[in-house]
Amino acid sequence: MSTLAGGAADWIWLAILLPFAGFLVNGALAFLRPQSRRLVSVVGVGSVAAAFAVGVAVFLAVLGAHPVEPYVRTLWSWIPVGDLRVDAALQVDQLSVVMLLVVTGVSSLIHVFSVGYMHDDPGYARYFAYLNLFVAFMLVLVLGASYPVMFIGWEGVGLCSYLLIGFWFEEKEKADAGLKAFLVNRIGDFGFLVAMFLIFSHLGSLDFRDVFARAPQALATGGGTVTAIALFLFMGCVGKSAQIPLYVWLPDAMAGPTPVSALIHAATMVTAGVYLVARSNILFAMSPVASAVVAGVGALTALFAATIGLKQWDIKKVLAYSTVSQLGYMFIGVGAGAYAAGIFHLVTHAFFKALLFLGAGSVIHVMHRAYHHTHGHADAQDMRNMGGLAAYMPWTSRVMWVATLAIAGIPPLAGFFSKDEILGAAFARGLAGERFYLLVWVVGLVGAFLTAFYMARLMLYTFHGPNRTGDAERAHLAEAPWVMTWPLVVLAALTVLGGALNLPHVETLHHWLEPLTARSAALQTTLEPAAGTEIALMTLAALIGAGGIWLATRVLKPEALQTPERAPRETGFAKLLLEKYRVDEIYSAVVVRPLIWFARTVLWRGVDAAVIDTAGVNGSAALARGFGWIGSRLQSGQVGTYVVFFVIGAIAVLAALLR
């Protein structure tokens, strides 16, 4: 038995309560005194920082106790119905503690950044209220001890995502983006629910402890049931973590404030899908088909999104597609059975992607300020309006280069180790006989090359070359406020050092997570590649990353860029990439419009108006009127008729009495 009881782990619920209390206070302030910025900032940042402190305490407890079994802290009995027993319980184990630290830590930095970024926004208190609520729900998601509790968090972060994407809801586009995110997520959530039903009906429980203990005995490895469960769970991941075909909400989600994009759509919410697969690793390990699907979808998404990122002009859209692509890599990792590698990339990606988004946020903030001074109306997010900003924003430029090198996979930064480990796992699995994973590996390598290329492109167009912002604006370009810049520095430091979490052969994180992944590892066949092969693979990955950056500097000419008004129209394949393969248009034509037609014509006119209104409501009224008419005919006033009925009734009663 673990020795976590009675220690800091018992207070784990504080980590959720503190941000939630922050939400309540900030929410009240949003109604009462929206202008009290200082109080809102203190409550907003303080509650999440306090949650981080709780996380550190719990982490130290787990570090000291080395538990073999997860520790479940039950708070109250939630659903005791028949055979179903679900408690409001939180689970403290190695995986949830890692997620707890990442979520609260990165959240704290982003909250600090938001103090500067959202300073002039009238909805300041509302923003922090929503952000705190998001952190609370995200923690429910990662700390939950059963699928339903996790699902509460799952839905809750979806809600907060909707609220925050549509934060500036007065603009219809932004409100629509929030709605799109919520609706597309709902499709995935359906899969999650079906998976839960299957799990309960076959395994009799929804608690993680019970499910993962019973699954190997109750279900046939590689059988249809466990494959179905895993695939439906993955369907939820496809929605929440923006994989093909449900990724379409994430680029639109860039309509929200940039810190929101950094927190929710880079570091935390979208990684919930990866966490789900890692948590349910035994189920995925028992179904090679589902794992292959996960890895395949991840690889395809990684490549597909990277290609789109090559041609986007909006700086946030590039980063959005980059996120989709990197999430694909995480799924390659967990699909190939390297759950620790997937989580490792999740952590490093949280660092450098948050850094990239916050850096982009700084850039956008500065651009907006410049345009504000000159009353210009150009798009502050279009890279064609930027250029040469390194001269004006040195710190931002430096930290973003750190992040770019990390995401491109240049050693010794964190991204190199995590991406390499994922690709190595795929390669090893391919070597062991499952040829499909070799294809995954190749696709991953191509994607890595493209990643390096488009990230370098982003840096070149934004920070280097001549400045295209305009002469009047240039006077106002300067570094972002220090409150916005120092979180970037912290994240940059984490990006540099983060690789130490799971260095090859030392594999700290892998060993840390071993109590949770050991059973799955036993089910897999991997060949440890020879030491020489490993070094070759690492070198190959590094070369690909460097090559991508080099090619970008060679091929792309920032000097030749024109501002959007004067830019030539795109043609051919470039146009297709810019229009993101017109996927949204395809969805609209194939799915959305037929659905609306169906709803309007069949369901509204057909079912609602004709069947329910006419036949149902009016029909039953007519029926009642008919019966009433018949009844009224009985009231003829003819005593003779009454007598007849009277006598017939008496005869009938007599007959009944005779029985």
Binding site: Q635, S636, G637, Q638, G640, Y642, I651
Partner: protein, 98 residues
């Protein structure tokens, strides 16, 4: 010994009375059929009193009294109705119509 046949006759007379009530439209004739029914019941009482004691005959006595009172009042009502509607045909007496 006469009990069985008496009860049979009584049953037939009672049914005839019911048929008459259902068959006729004239209020007074319906009344007469009701009197027929009462007499059938009287016959039952008397027949059973042969077996069970003289209480049956006492009962018949009361029934006759009540029938007399009822006939008086009922015919007074018929007269009153005739004065208002100029008919005793039940079809035309339909002020109770709902």
């Amino acid at each position: 010994m006469l009990l069985g046949p008496s009860l049979a006759v009584s049953a037939i007379l009672f049914s005839l009375g019911v048929v008459g009530v259902l068959l006729r439209r004239n209020a007074i004739v319906i009344f007469m059929c009701i009197e027929l029914m009462l007499n059938a019941v009287n016959l039952t009482f008397v027949a059973l009193s042969q077996q069970l004691g003289l209480d049956g005959q006492v009962f018949v006595f009361f029934v006759m009294t009540i029938a007399a009172a009822e006939a008086a009042v009922g015919l007074a009502i018929v007269i009153a109705v005739y004065r208002h509607r100029d008919t005793v045909n039940l079809q035309n007496i339909n002020l109770l119509r709902g």
